[in-house]
């Protein structure tokens, strides 16, 4: 199957997220928790409309993709996550952008280099 031309593709939103926990969590644990939260909140139909996908995750931060205009729904579902891999956790959305590059530059790299004082969790 050929990739659709950009004009025919579904529009997307990219959420820069961070996980606040005691220990580090793995990508698999996070994914399981995200899909269980979205599934229990919206059911199967609603989850497929949200079209959530975890693109990149490392160092407790990640980029999550969702459908255009479903960002508030996805944000609400992410807020209902209480535990990841058996430990208490908060999933915090740092920001939303229309491109992966935008989300990374604006919310993930800037936080690390410009404002380290706000990242005190340990």
């Amino acid at each position: 199957m050929k990739t659709l031309p950009s004009s025919l593709r579904q529009r997307k939103r990219y959420l820069a997220i961070e996980i606040i926990t005691e220990r580090e969590v793995s990508r698999e644990e996070l994914l399981r928790e995200i899909f269980s939260a979205i599934g229990s909140l919206y059911g199967d139909i609603g989850s497929s409309e949200c079209g959530v996908r975890l693109l990149d995750f490392g160092n407790q931060k990640g980029i999550l993709r969702c459908s255009h205009r479903m960002e508030e729904r996805s944000r609400a579902a992410l807020a209902t996550i209480t535990t990841i891999g058996g430990q208490r956790a908060i999933v915090h959305v740092l920001g939303i952008s229309g491109t992966v590059k935008g989300a990374t530059q604006k919310y993930i790299s800037v936080q690390q280099y410009q404002n380290p004082s706000t990242l005190i969790y340990k």
Partner: protein
Amino acid sequence: MVERYYDLCIRYLPEDDQAMERFLSIATHFGFKGVGIAQVPNSKSLISYTGPRNSFFDLVHGVEIHEENPSKLHSQISHCAKKVDFVMVEGGTDKLNRSAVEAANVNILSLPFGIKDGGLDHVIARSAADRGIAIEFDVGSLIRYRGGKRLHAVSELEQRLMLARKFDVHMVLTSGARSIYDIRGPRELIALSSLFGMTKEEAINAMTAIPAAILRTKRKTHGFIMDGVELIEEQVPPERQEEFC
């Protein structure tokens, strides 16, 4: 403009200064201007945090009163009201709710879910609106519960929202956090409140303007003199302004 978000009604008190600092750093990181910690009355550690206080962060001390007996409620409220920044009463049965909205010095009425002969009805809503008592919208139940319990919480919140809109009752949107991991950011609270039909404007208002108004009257700042007295700033007409120069 940066909104000054408040999350009043956090039912969690960090045990020591270290936990408190962590709590404050998370709250500031989420973008809150201030958080209110609602404690049970007569707890000793009401204002015990001795660590550094940030001037830009507002730590509000409140009290949450659980009293089954309506006649004892008034004495409890008057006992606590002068010591704290806001008074919250946990309602329950109709009698208790009625007595809570009739009492002086109550700021927020918090209603538990799933009470048969209780909850928010039009009588309570109307008198709460008259007396300027805010109703708490606790989205913590949407975070903590799954399945049937959450379902009932959503429908009850919808019902309350309908009544609050109809009678123009003040709303306070809170996370009702019971631990440090129950805190959610302002944008998350807005997204959660949209699940039961609250609009973004209402949600922002419930986290900025209404908590600020509660604190303003309680803390007696910004030209507050006493109940019912308002300071009107004298405006000098333009032609007389020139004479002064």
